[in-house]
């Protein structure tokens, strides 16, 4: 009875106000000039619900509005992609999430300007060959305007007839803004002193300090990188997985759990000259992200080509009508068509392509889990910009028929 009584009372006492609200802007740069940004608003759950009530909004409506703002910004700014990542609800806090991918620094600066932040991103290059050496990133503001940083006026503003500027339940001291920046390689300078948070440098400002000028500067040098050169033409087929599976047990449940939650997308971009870029982009969910992150980062060491011959690459992918983020690699130099012919061949007229599924099994009945599960997705962007995509199922990895992709 004890526990149940507590639960029921907890249910009936949902809406006590406490805590503060915070805005986080996390920026991760890569050496391809892209930036990945997570824009979070963290609000006490009870306050969030009261505010919804005050604005006469349903929770779903509010989240839709927030996503609409993100997509509207993406269209307005260009070279910017909003994903469908969902907000989440903890025991006492709501984390409202907007997630973006920026193709270039101009787009990132434009988005930050919507938040009242001036961003200057300088690329430092070597004098002779103009090779990218590093970035100098400055983010500043004369004063931090929480209204702009929230960038969600439809929820976090008072009705027009009201004199209130911001939600009445939030006092000045309860607001906080945090900027987190990740630059790969060696950091040259971080000003002012910033906290270390995982791979990020972090600056936090709260209360009355929000009215003071804000400036964060960070500068890096990309590490030395040597390409791995070796056998240029494709070698013998790789070994298959049939033999080991005979000794393994209980392989189905994990594959079932992962189905649709952790698989790669191979995005082949066909150039006008027939060369092909290969982007390997794992798709993952909130639950599988820790495994993806571990494998991806350890691959950098165990398969050094993934950073020496390829580079970190981000893409907004539309899978199952959701826009999700693929966090993976892209070759630094495009492949000649003949070097990837064992995998993908583009028709002479450039209007279709044929994908040859790798043979990982000799016997389709040996695959882990459901042979119909999606083991990967192949996406082709043709030279004229049109795209085609197809799912490759586990059974296709046992010598399945070639897959023809047509826009």
């Amino acid at each position: 009875m004890k526990k149940s009584v507590q639960i029921v009372f907890a249910l009936l006492a949902l809406f006590m106000l406490s805590g503060c609200y915070e805005v986080y802007v996390d920026i991760q740069f890569n050496d391809a000039g892209q930036a990945y940004v997570s824009h979070y608003i963290v609000v006490p759950k009870k306050a969030f619900e009261l505010q919804l009530n005050k604005m006469g909004l349903e929770q779903k409506q509010a989240l839709e509005i927030m996503q609409n703002i993100a997509h509207r910004d993406a269209v307005m700014i260009g070279d910017m992609h909003a994903t469908s990542r969902e907000s989440f609800f903890g025991g006492d806090r709501v984390v409202l999430v907007r997630e973006f991918l920026f193709d270039n620094h101009r787009a990132l600066s434009d988005y930050l300007s919507l938040l009242g932040l001036r961003a200057t991103i300088k690329e430092r290059r070597t004098f002779f060959c103009r090779k990218l050496k590093g970035y100098d990133v400055t983010v500043e503001a004369d004063a931090l305007d929480m209204d702009k940083l929230l960038h969600f006026n439809e929820l976090f503003s008072a009705p027009e007839e009201s004199d209130e500027e911001l939600p009445s339940f939030l006092g000045e001291d309860s607001k906080q803004f945090t900027l987190k920046v990740f630059l790969p390689g060696e950091l040259n300078a971080v000003e002012p002193q910033a906290q270390v948070d995982w791979v990020f440098r972090k600056w936090s400002v709260k209360g009355n300090d929000l009215a003071k000028p804000f400036r964060a500067f960070i500068s890096n040098t990309f590490p030395r990188r040597d390409e791995i050169t070796g056998v240029k033409k494709s070698t013998d087929p790789l070994p298959t997985l049939d033999a080991p599976t005979a000794t393994l047990t209980d392989q189905g449940r994990f594959a079932d759990l992962m189905n649709g939650r952790f698989y790669p997308v191979l995005h082949a971009r066909v150039h006008g000259n027939g060369k092909i870029d290969l982007n390997y982009l794992p798709v993952y969910t909130d639950e599988t992200t820790s495994l993806n992150s571990f494998l991806r980062l350890s691959d950098w060491m165990l398969m050094p080509e993934t950073i020496s011959n390829y580079q970190e690459w981000l893409e907004a992918l539309e899978v199952d009508e959701e826009i999700t983020l693929g966090f993976g690699t892209r070759n630094r130099k495009p492949f000649a068509a003949k070097d990837v012919a064992h995998l993908l061949q583009v028709a002479a007229d450039g209007r279709s392509a044929t994908f040859y599924p790798p043979k990982l099994y000799n016997d389709a009945t040996k695959v882990a889990g459901d042979p119909e599960r999606v083991s990967m997705v192949v996406l082709v962007t043709f030279a004229d910009g049109r795209t085609a995509q197809a799912s490759v199922h586990a059974k296709d990895l046992a010598g399945g028929a070639p897959i023809v992709l047509k826009p």
Partner: protein, 441 residues
């Protein structure tokens, strides 16, 4: 945002005129199987009016929305997680009544032993039943007893501000009602033992009702009697069916949510285990100052072995540079714990540049030595479930062999030219380094 409006209104309504009654329902069959449940009835004219305007459908949506948003927080999951075999949650929900709102939590159990073990653990009431010898007419008397003895419960409830407010509003006394049903109806007289401060009554269907102060939850003793012929197997089955109704639409939805929640938790556990079961081993053979041969081994064990080996091979097949530069071998292995695994081994065909490892390696000259620093930087992010596993798991190892003698290292020395670093999860959650100092010439 119905939930905010309605629940806020609930709290306000309580403060004005509302009152709460706790009902405990026990239904026992002669084999000791039965149901146990409690309902909290919130009676308030204002609340009834408000809720009536909204309707049961709205209450359902409100409750389900709350469950969906909060199930991950764990407070709801407490009700159903780790239910022992033989015990099932058969109803849980908010229901509209003529007077206000009713919150139901009902369980079924297959024996008294199972129930009492669970009840003891959860702070629910334990039950017992005695069966008399058959009387001359063949009838049996079943005496069902409920004894509560939980001295800390009342104290805990009284510490709760909402509870206290309720207590104040109700003149310092809250009521509980205990409904008991047995294998047969209770007799018309002598159906229960009297108990201090408790009012006894009998319902038309033969249920016995004890009405008293809520403090009886902390200390009370209730005995009811039920009389009749033993039940045939058919009667028993029919009673069991009647006792455990089909889930209400609301509860069916809750079960769906809980199923998803369990799957999510299973997924999180599986992902953490898969990380632990994907052991890596990297052999770096320094053939020259800035040239190395690499052997990278990943060995996959457990339920994720084949799936992750498939991912590995897929990656090798899809990115031509990965495939062409290496000799690749796949084989079955048996781990030290006897588990079967799949090993994927890649060995460079030719030496590769040290700086193909990019930021993961640093090299500097220190007088007569070369100092290599292999970096393992934050492979595990804060909050990665692997970091909460105890004891801290080993996730792999780095082995460096140098053609020149190794004069110092933070790893363990295997021989004069080889050192090894065992890599734990904690090391991968930080900026860790494997430092190897070799002779320069």
């Amino acid at each position: 945002m119905r939930i905010v409006r309605v629940m806020l209104a609930v709290v306000i309504a309580f403060a004005l005129t509302g009152c709460i009654t706790l009902e405990v329902h026990v239904n026992l069959l002669l084999d000791g199987s039965g149901t146990y449940g409690f309902s909290i009835n919130i009676v308030s004219d204002e609340l009834a009016m408000l809720l009536a305007q909204r309707g049961q459908q709205d209450i359902n949506e409100m409750f389900i929305e709350y469950m969906e948003n909060n199930s991950s927080a764990g407070e709801m999951d407490d009700l159903v997680s780790d239910l022992p075999e033989g015990i099932e949650l058969i109803d849980f929900g908010f229901y509209l009544t003529d007077e206000g709102l009713r919150v139901n939590v009902f369980y079924s159990f297959d024996s008294l032993e199972t129930w009492n073990a669970y009840a003891g653990d959860q702070g629910y009431i334990q039950l017992s039943m005695n069966e008399s010898a058959p009387a001359a007419n063949g009838e049996i008397t079943w005496s069902v007893n409920l004894k509560t003895d939980s001295p800390d419960l009342l104290e805990e409830m009284q510490d709760n501000p909402e509870f206290n407010q309720q207590l104040e509003e109700n003149g310092g006394e809250l009521k509980m009602q205990l409904f008991m049903r047995g294998p047969r109806p209770s007799p018309a007289t002598n159906y229960a033992d009297p108990y201090e401060n408790v009012e006894l009554s009998r319902l038309d269907d033969g249920a016995v009702v004890f009405t008293g102060p809520l403090t009886l939850l902390a200390k009370g003793n209730f005995t009811a009697r039920f009389v009749g012929a033993p039940l045939s197997a058919e009667e028993l089955a029919a009673k069991r069916r009647e006792m455990i109704p089909e889930p209400s639409p609301q509860f069916a939805k809750i079960l769906e949510i809980l199923k998803k929640l369990r799957e999510k938790r299973e997924l999180q556990r599986a992902v953490a285990q898969a990380t632990v079961d994907s052991q890596f081993e990297l052999h770096v053979d320094l053939v020259d100052t800035e040239k190395m041969m690499l052997t990278a081994v990943r060995t996959y064990y457990g339920e994720s072995a084949q799936y992750l080996a498939e991912r590995d091979l897929l990656l090798l097949n899809l990115l031509p540079d990965l495939k062409n530069n290496y000799a690749i071998e796949v084989k079955s292995v048996t781990g030290p714990d006897g588990r079967a695994g799949v090993e994927v081994r890649r060995t460079t065909r030719n030496p590769i540049p040290l700086y193909s490892l990019e930021d993961n390696v640093r090299l500097r000259r220190d007088n007569d030595h070369w100092v290599y620093r292999f970096r393992l930087v934050y492979w595990l992010q804060q909050g990665n479930p692997v970091l909460s596993i105890t004891p801290e798991p080993q996730l792999g190892r780095l082995i460096v062999h140098s053609a020149r003698p190794i004069v110092g290292s933070n790893g363990k020395r295997l021989d004069g030219n080889t050192v090894q670093l065992d890599v734990s999860a904690g090391m991968l959650a930080a900026d860790s380094s494997f430092i190897v100092r070799t002779q320069a010439e």
